[in-house]
Subunit: 364 residues, 4 copies
Amino acid sequence: MPGKVKCIGILTGGGDCPGLNAVIRAVVKDAVQNGIQVIGIRDGCRGLGDKHMAALGPGDGSNILTLGGTILGSSNKDNPFHLIEKDKSGKIHYHDRSRDIPKNLRRVGIEAMVILGGDGSMTVANKLSHMGLKIIGVPKTIDNDLMGTDQTFGHDTAVSIATEAIDRLHTVADSHHRVIIVEIMGRYAGWLALRSGIAGGGDIILIPEIPYDEKKVGEAVLERRRKGKKSSIVVVAEGAHPKGGKMVVDRINPFSAERIRLGGISRQLAHHLEAKSGVETRSVILGHVVRGGTPTAFDRNLATLFGVQAMNLISKGQFGRMVALRNNRMSSVPLVQVGGKTRKVPANHELIRAAKSIGVSFGA
Amino acid sequence: MPGKVKCIGILTGGGDCPGLNAVIRAVVKDAVQNGIQVIGIRDGCRGLGDKHMAALGPGDGSNILTLGGTILGSSNKDNPFHLIEKDKSGKIHYHDRSRDIPKNLRRVGIEAMVILGGDGSMTVANKLSHMGLKIIGVPKTIDNDLMGTDQTFGHDTAVSIATEAIDRLHTVADSHHRVIIVEIMGRYAGWLALRSGIAGGGDIILIPEIPYDEKKVGEAVLERRRKGKKSSIVVVAEGAHPKGGKMVVDRINPFSAERIRLGGISRQLAHHLEAKSGVETRSVILGHVVRGGTPTAFDRNLATLFGVQAMNLISKGQFGRMVALRNNRMSSVPLVQVGGKTRKVPANHELIRAAKSIGVSFGA
Amino acid sequence: MPGKVKCIGILTGGGDCPGLNAVIRAVVKDAVQNGIQVIGIRDGCRGLGDKHMAALGPGDGSNILTLGGTILGSSNKDNPFHLIEKDKSGKIHYHDRSRDIPKNLRRVGIEAMVILGGDGSMTVANKLSHMGLKIIGVPKTIDNDLMGTDQTFGHDTAVSIATEAIDRLHTVADSHHRVIIVEIMGRYAGWLALRSGIAGGGDIILIPEIPYDEKKVGEAVLERRRKGKKSSIVVVAEGAHPKGGKMVVDRINPFSAERIRLGGISRQLAHHLEAKSGVETRSVILGHVVRGGTPTAFDRNLATLFGVQAMNLISKGQFGRMVALRNNRMSSVPLVQVGGKTRKVPANHELIRAAKSIGVSFGA
Amino acid sequence: MPGKVKCIGILTGGGDCPGLNAVIRAVVKDAVQNGIQVIGIRDGCRGLGDKHMAALGPGDGSNILTLGGTILGSSNKDNPFHLIEKDKSGKIHYHDRSRDIPKNLRRVGIEAMVILGGDGSMTVANKLSHMGLKIIGVPKTIDNDLMGTDQTFGHDTAVSIATEAIDRLHTVADSHHRVIIVEIMGRYAGWLALRSGIAGGGDIILIPEIPYDEKKVGEAVLERRRKGKKSSIVVVAEGAHPKGGKMVVDRINPFSAERIRLGGISRQLAHHLEAKSGVETRSVILGHVVRGGTPTAFDRNLATLFGVQAMNLISKGQFGRMVALRNNRMSSVPLVQVGGKTRKVPANHELIRAAKSIGVSFGA
């Protein structure tokens, strides 16, 4: 039996996501019940280097269940193995600042770490684990595209917000006999556009996994007109692209040299559709709205289960793993199986088949 | 290969539930795609006898996805095998009116039936199936207590509404340092109270599966006070009851001779708690509010999958079955395995274990 | 010109109400801009005697705009002029504990007080003002029944929550061809039931100002049936009562000897309606749910305007007044004109006339 | 006394707006009570020429209260006095098609018209009135920029939706220490951005009435940083512009030759802010989402009052007027005073003064 862990650290990395605080709350409350000290690391992996750490007492778990975002702060560009630094001339350099992490943690007494994050954070978590640190990962992404778990918290909330927006846009499209194209986050996987598209009664759904044919999208709109349906709702993932085409990329992040997509496929498609079909077309980019605010009941419960499961793994000494939901039950997978991959929507997924059965077009 | 079904009937039985219209929509849209005629039966099983039937055209599937309730109407007291009738003196008699059903269906050309409902409706569906009719059941209950499926549509919506109400009551309890007891539907199974209780940050959760000790409920409240937490939220399923006690039953339904619970356990408990602990206590009974209105995105998608799956079973000639969600995938089970049973919350369910781990009391 | 006030106190009294924190935030932020110190008094008027006071810094105004309830705590039974105390035998005595208040305030340096509350708190505020203290009142009640202001914050939120609940109940009533009676807070004034009743499409609205005739309520339901409308929604204020009848009173508050209404008129009426009309009838009591949670945008803005207006009055040295909304503009009225009165719905109010014009029955 | 009108027409013009159906419902229900026939004109003013008209029976007022958009359809480019037509070569011509309108109305028996719409529709309504037709206008615009009425329905709903979105974006900004710029509809008047900006706790609010200085916006962000507030929310009306600058215009509507703004000021400002301040900045354009979906309780009630007031004016024979809310009461104004004007936010409006008092910057 492993020696009991007395003090753990917790950090939230990557883009923010409804339910992060619900996980933190579950971890803190579970720890309080078991006499374990919890130390919060500020601003994601940046805190590991900067030593921004503070003890989380019992009260810190209170009143945060419904709170969006993360009370710990996050950062999606501070990979300690590949830290971006600008020199005086503005040139960008990358450095490996991971060497000091074990020492930093030891100094404040942290014996094990719970790391909440997406693909990038799980890759870091895995590397830290290979350095000999005791790490538990907790999967987080509104996109639901993380390997190893059937669902991540935040996804249901994002689907709900997007669906509510689509509900609203239906009345706008109907009143004016328009096509409205709604662009929804999802660079590499279409789960969010697919689920909110079906739930929102979208007529055409375009996802990265199924490159579309602009002509067929136009035909689907005109076919609906012929049947007397004067408006159409097109739900498009930001990463969707025409056959042979590419994602629209708008600019380069000046801090990270990373390419940033500001949304654009919906505008490009709106222009095309209106020009070809002659039907008035408008586009709306939901953007960051879908990742903020109070988590749904579903996500609060999933986040709570994940937080408790992380503590279970710690008490059993099963490190180097990410908690997971598999076949409707709490489970876990080795961190090494998670990072650097993307869980895409399979082309014959039952949601896609169901959507096709009720007449939804995927533009292909 | 079975002869292709050309015309189906559809009815919604039992208490109403968010998502019924989403299933009807999916069935109608799928049928339109496959050249199958759909006939809607009015007001649940009553329509089978009364011949209240009308064809549902393509347009009838439009604009109902977001609509709560059922466009077909329902009835939760017209079991055709056990129909309640009052004679002139007001005395109640039961009759078996099932004999005419096959003839009634044949007259309008219905070859197979899709029956949406809960435990009672699935029992009727099974009996009709045994009479030789081609029946597909679709599970529906906000309580999520139906055998054979991991989840029913409507449940997530009810959990969401109840959670939102609990969120509101927190601020009331906090401002006044009160105990607030929220009573939530769930006569025999505590899924709804359990899920909304955890998602809503309930401090004490009482469900039918775990008879509670009033003394321990009071102690849990006072223990929280000692820790400086001046308010407490108790979430109680209407069917919860003290050890050795019984559900509170308020009156007899004058139409059905059925015992009707109007809510009461929360009032009884509030009275008890206030008297024993001296802490101001209020009770709120959410009642029918949790079963109405627009379904969540989750429930719309589950309902759509169920509707399409029902049509798949029909096309494959697999009758006498209920569509089901099992291990996160569409599936089906024989109707005979469903009726007359209740899927209760297992005492060691991971939600209960997680809740205990973060300090929730079950009063036991 | 009056000497500039350097330090103010703020307290929230009476039942909690969405928007209290938005007022506190506006007062703190305005004070910070003007170099004024703010001291928060805990738990309503109780804090005046108990000396539970703490400085509110700039950060205390952050992140509370959307929060329901009050961060200061409240109490609706600690009138310092008439304090309830129990002796050892449990007997209740009333004491005037107001004498020490000026001294208590002076000790911490408070020169002027902002008191948020309803009728009771404004009465206390007026008495404190007559003792020579510098007092500004801010009107608060979900019932909107306070004299001197066209609207109070919290009311719009309560109307919204109640309307959303009525929306949900429509689908339940429609699916089952039932009458559903929704009981909504409002002991003496029917603003809440009236506004949510019209907004929720209620068919019959019963308010305290218009005693109803049970027979006419039944007739209205049956008349709807005759026109083919199988369901009806009755919206009833908790203080509504039949002609010649009285409000239903359920019990006596053991702490305050005050009579407490737990809701009941809806149950009584449901029983009566079902028995007389033979139509299935259910009742739902929304209770405290309508007073909790995040305020609407309307109430946040009204609360912010009120908070700033309170600070304006302080800077002008206009004490003994309550801030008010009059003819769509910020204004103020002498406190003496507010307490001990109730702003009821006039029988010919344009909302009542409009409701009647579209066929709503008031049961009279 | 004027001869009683027996048959009226109703149409909805301009951009859609939550509450249009609530007005239609009130008009239909009031008309049913008074034995007046209502005829719905399809697709705004286009229907006046195309003779797309259909009687609205009692049932047409049912179940539409909560529905966004308009059951009659709308059009915002079919001014009958200035109709756009393309010739074969694609060239655009304008025609006056108003001459036939009286005849078209007479043919179906319409004696008076209720016209719901914004500035453009009220201008048309006024011209029709001058042609001798009996016209009542009902003010509609989410922007609340219509002359003659203190408020229009739809505005409160749009404010609510925008505020909820800003709530969500706060958690995103906080978690990542970012500036987020939210762009909200409002070309010429800033009511929507102002109300949702204050209600949403915006730190900087930019409206068309107060041209901003980009430098001061940047300073406001940096000043917040210095005070330890790492994130900032900038709420910007689409029509806001820098001092000496102009609204961003993206393209020309190919149908109407009208200039269409697709949003852009927020992107332009984000780019500028990030470059100058070095603080990560993101922009979100809410777009059409704020004009769709279920109206708030407030807007349903205002719409109902407006609908009934329109019928009152008809019964009194007071034509050529627009119904209005003035000083919290139903009123009316001559149509001639409404069209062609814009009700802007006065620079010293109490909302602006209040916002400044609590530290909000207007960038000026």
